[in-house]
């Protein structure tokens, strides 16, 4: 495995990388784009394909109106112009999993025109990435090459699933930017609830157009298109591999040919699928079975009213409303579910925003990751976490004890108050009790006391530890420190 491009590679001084992405987001409709068959994933092969999906003689497509609403949502969220009239066209080619011998797509007149989004780079700088267009189309079925003894199986369950193809401008200059862009679109379509974003099931995937040019030159180099990449990690690796390949080729006196390439994740390499000469002539023309899709101002206004708060707006609000750092706000708004969870915790904690953010991003996220759970399936609810944070805030427990409480909540032992009560974890703030413990520790460690008093002040920590131990960790740490200091120096 070549983890290809290191941070200071010599070519970075000489070459500039140019990347554009075509993202396919599967729209989260219940039925297909042109038929009434269900879109649910994972059914037995060919059980979710009706006569229309099978392309039987005589059948006709009828547009599922929901897809127009979803496309308009995306367009509004990216500041794009919504086309008052868009047209479905046929893209003609033969393939066994393409039942009609053509794919219905939008070609010359897409529903969503030019828009843009902002991405945040590692150095905190934001960059605008242009979106050329987004158009509606149907997905093809799947060809299954295994288990058929040299034959190919065809599963048409996916045929006719609605897709929104989001085409970016060639605005990205590194694999990292491409990933940041893809993540941003991923977050956006999930915020908008138009795509479930499930990359393993292929609900969100992309083609990457990659080229390189000598720094300072305006003209783009010849590009290769890497098809069908379905994870953020693979996007980064595929692009990096492809960039190295192209630069090596150019530096050794070769030329890049325009072609379609496939990324092989097992070998971490891209290989040629077909060259420009072999490229299909798709013979696009308007589909005579479908009327043009007309979208009027009233419809757009109606969709606009249903738009949720978008990630960028939410991030800004988190900064000014909760006083979070821009970084924390970014992390928490990366998904709508996480942001909603944070806000619920904050509310339940009675306004402990910083603590809420720390717990959600820290212990909770770590535990979820470890258990491979979504926030929606967290055993610790926002209500429970907020309740625990309240107990930290009112000094019932210390931050350290809270970790124990959190773990108990995670293991289903009840809410924070019940656990504190049951396990006797209530913080000791009774001065007398703490003093008693300190006195005992001092009495039991005369040698250390002498050393401390003779100037070995680092032994203070030893006494804190012993005293804390004596209170089973329940002593209020600030109070303990204060009292201990007094006793040791008296």
């Amino acid at each position: 495995m070549s983890n290809s491009v290191s941070s200071v590679s010599p070519w970075q001084q000489e070459w500039e990388v140019v990347i554009g992405l075509e993202i396919h987001a599967q729209l989260a409709t219940r039925t297909k784009i042109f038929s009434g068959a269900a879109t649910a994933y994972g059914a037995e092969p060919n059980t979710q394909a009706c006569a229309v999906d099978l392309g039987l003689p005589g059948v006709l497509p009828v547009l599922n109106g929901e897809v127009a609403r979803m496309a308009v949502k995306f367009g509004l969220a990216t500041g794009a112009r919504i086309a008052p009239r868009s047209v479905f066209a046929r893209k003609n080619y033969f393939y066994p999993d393409l039942p009609k011998g053509y794919q219905i797509s939008q070609y010359e007149l897409p529903i969503v025109g030019q828009g843009s989004i902002q991405i945040e780079l590692d150095d905190g700088v934001t960059k605008t990435i242009g979106i050329t267009r987004a158009h509606l189309e149907e997905d093809a079925g799947k060809s299954l090459h295994e288990d058929f003894h040299g034959l190919t199986g065809i599963d048409l369950n996916r045929a006719g699933t609605p897709l929104l193809e989001i085409v970016s401008e060639p605005d990205m200059r590194s694999a990292k930017e491409a990933v940041a862009y893809m993540k941003k679109i991923h977050s956006l379509v999930r915020y908008l609830e138009i795509c479930d974003g499930n990359m393993q099931e292929g609900s969100f995937r992309c083609d990457a157009n990659v080229s390189v040019r000598p720094k300072g030159r305006e003209k783009f180099g010849t590009r290769a298109e890497i098809k069908n990449i379905n994870s953020f990690r693979f996007v980064e690796k595929a692009i990096n591999y492809e960039v190295e390949r192209q630069i090596e080729l150019l530096e050794s006196g070769g030329t890049v040919v325009q072609e379609t390439r496939l990324y092989d994740a097992d070998k971490d390499e891209t290989r040629s699928m077909r060259s420009k000469e072999e490229a299909f002539d798709y013979r696009y023309f308007p589909d005579p079975d479908l009327l043009p899709l007309d979208v009027d101002e009233a419809f757009i206004a109606e969709v606009r009213r249903t738009l949720p708060e978008l990630p960028d707006e939410k991030r800004e609000r988190f900064v000014y409303q909760y006083g979070l750092t821009p970084y924390d706000a970014s992390v928490l708004t990366a998904s709508r579910e996480l942001a909603d969870f944070f806000e619920a915790v904050e509310k339940a904690s009675d306004g402990e925003a910083k603590q809420s953010a720390n717990w959600v991003m820290g212990d909770l996220s770590a535990a979820l990751n470890k258990a491979n759970l979504d926030i929606a399936n967290s055993p610790v609810t926002a209500q429970m976490l907020g309740g625990m944070i309240q107990r930290i805030a009112d000094d019932t427990i210390s931050g350290k004890i809270a970790k124990e409480v959190f773990e108990a909540m995670w293991n289903g032992e009840g809410d924070a108050d019940a656990i504190i009560e049951k396990k006797g974890l209530k913080q000791v703030t009774d001065t007398g009790a703490i003093e008693q413990a300190i006195d005992a520790v001092i009495a039991n460690n005369p040698k250390q006391l002498e050393q401390y008093r003779s100037g070995q002040e680092k032994l203070f920590g030893f006494f804190v530890g012993q005293a804390m131990k004596a209170t089973q960790g329940k002593a209020n740490p600030a109070l303990l420190n204060e009292l201990l200091k007094k006793k040791l120096s008296s």
């Binding site: 039987l56 006709l60 497509p61």
Partner: protein, 484 residues
């Protein structure tokens, strides 16, 4: 003679209990058995199912829940999908295809109580004007068995002319209802594009195809069209407009009706004897109180070349689904995918279909699209505009349906362009999406001549009315071919 009665007459008899639908159905099945071998008009006969359906119709008639079409035998063009029944579209490609669903019009006519007795022969995938491109061999014209019946709905036209059924369905992409109706001396109407659902009607050229009835009289066409027409949510191009009672206005006066005669339809290429028959028919209309004016449709000469870009372009894409993968013909022992495609399509399609797929593929190809497809769309607009202008002056346009009477079988097979020109008067109507009709208006020798009536958008009721008035005054539609 039952088989010489119109639907209107048969329906009255059925409702009066003169005889049963089963009896009627048996009578037509007997005629099919007797005459179909020489005509080759039907490719499938559904006798058993027909008799079962007839008995259901009889129960409805008895129960008093029958409509005007209940129990009336019907032939479906083999382009309409019929559940459980072979739907071949005249092609080897679909010789093994049993449709798993009914076309919307099939359902509608079933619901109206009609009894399907069989499915009619046709030009392969409706591509042809003579019924000679059918995988099942040519259909003979009952008026002269040396002659073609026209096409592509030639089997339907011959079946109705030979009294094998009182009515048949047809489809019309460039004249495929009107031209065979003319050549077989019957009445046929192609409705406005969008009036009749295309769902389940195997597509040739989607923006032009339209189904309609073929019967002996305008009144029968009115009855059946009323049952076929209407909005269908499964067809995005069907129009959501109420269907009028076409029969109710059949007898409306045509006093003062303005008939336009396009001068372009009476020029070079029109057979002189056909022209004479058409002039006589126009004279008849004058007698009935109509006014006749000459009009111009200046872009008429562009219709055939425009059509032969648009229709092949759409068909080249529509017929891509016939790839040997999921249904229909598959070649034997394909050694790889490309071989499967090439041989299945090469062996499954006949020469006319291949010719049109190649023309259409060419017209849509990169570098030619603008010069052919886009240009054709522009011309289509000009052709439509001609009609829109004309209908500002006149109520109905009339002229010959076909420039000649039926030609001989084999006569034009070797010369596709001459064949294409036989649709010169019908094609523009499809390009404009207008309703058109053909009614029997006389003969040249033994062979019938059709008068074409073209109406404004959704003016089917007016066309049927104008046709009916003529048929009240003439008897061309009642003539029976000798021997039938």
């Amino acid at each position: 003679m039952l088989h010489n009665k119109t639907i209107a007459e048969l329906s009255a008899d059925l409702h009066a209990g003169e005889y049963s639908s089963e009896h009627l159905t048996r009578a037509f099945l007997a005629r099919i058995e007797q005459f179909n071998p020489q005509l080759n008009a039907l490719v499938t006969v559904t006798a058993e199912q027909a008799l079962a359906d007839a008995r259901v119709a009889d129960a409805r008639l008895k129960a008093g829940t029958a409509g005007p079409l209940t129990g009336i035998p019907l032939v479906q063009k083999d382009i309409f999908c019929t559940k459980g029944v072979k739907t071949s579209c005249g092609s080897r490609m679909l010789d093994n295809f049993i449709a798993p669903y009914d076309a919307t019009t099939v359902t509608k006519l079933k619901d109206a109580g009609m009894v399907m007795v069989g499915k009619s022969n046709m030009d392969e995938f409706a591509m042809g004007s003579s019924n000679e491109t059918s995988f099942y061999g040519p259909v003979k014209n009952p008026w002269d068995t040396a002659a073609v019946p026209g096409g592509s709905s030639g089997g339907s036209a011959a079946a109705v002319a030979a009294r094998l059924a009182p009515v048949a369905t047809g489809t019309d992409t460039g004249g495929s209802i009107r031209q065979p109706a003319a050549l077989c001396g019957i009445t046929g109407i192609k409705p406005t594009y969008g009036r009749v659902s295309r769902y389940g009607m195997i597509a040739f050229a989607s923006s032009l195809d339209q189904g309609g009835p073929m019967a002996r009289t305008a009144e029968d066409c009115a009855l059946v069209l009323g049952a076929m027409a209407g909005f269908d949510e499964r067809d995005s191009t069907s129009v959501d407009m109420p269907v009028p009672d076409y029969r109710a206005t059949l007898n409306d006066s045509i006093q003062g009706l303005k008939i336009g005669l396009p001068k372009e339809y009476f020029g070079e290429g029109l057979d002189a004897q056909v022209a004479q028959v058409i002039e006589d028919a126009i004279k008849q209309y004058r007698t009935l109180g109509a006014e006749v004016v000459e009009i111009s449709l200046p872009n008429t000469q562009l219709a055939v070349p425009t059509y032969y870009v648009v229709a092949p372009a759409e068909c080249s894409s529509n017929l891509s689904r016939f790839d040997g993968v999921r249904f229909g013909y598959r070649c034997e022992n394909p050694h790889d995918l490309l071989d499967l495609y090439k041989r299945s399509r090469g062996e499954g399609f006949g020469p006319e279909v291949k010719r049109r797929i190649m023309i259409g593929t060419y017209a849509l190809s990169a570098g030619y699209y603008d010069a052919y497809y886009i240009k054709a769309q522009q011309l289509r607009r000009l052709i439509s505009d001609d009609f829109i202008q004309a209908f500002k002056q006149v109520d109905v346009i009339m002229g010959p349906t076909s420039p000649t009477v039926a030609f001989n079988i084999g006569e034009k097979v070797a010369d596709p362009v001459t064949m294409y020109l036989s649709d010169i008067y019908t094609i523009a109507v499809n390009l404009a999406g207008l309703p058109g009709m053909s009614i029997p208006a006389g003969f040249v020798g033994k062979r019938p001549v059709g008068l074409q009536l073209i109406g404004n958008y959704f003016a089917e009721a007016r066309l049927l009315n104008v046709a009916h008035k003529y048929q009240q005054a003439t008897d061309w539609h009642d003539r029976v071919p000798e021997g039938f």
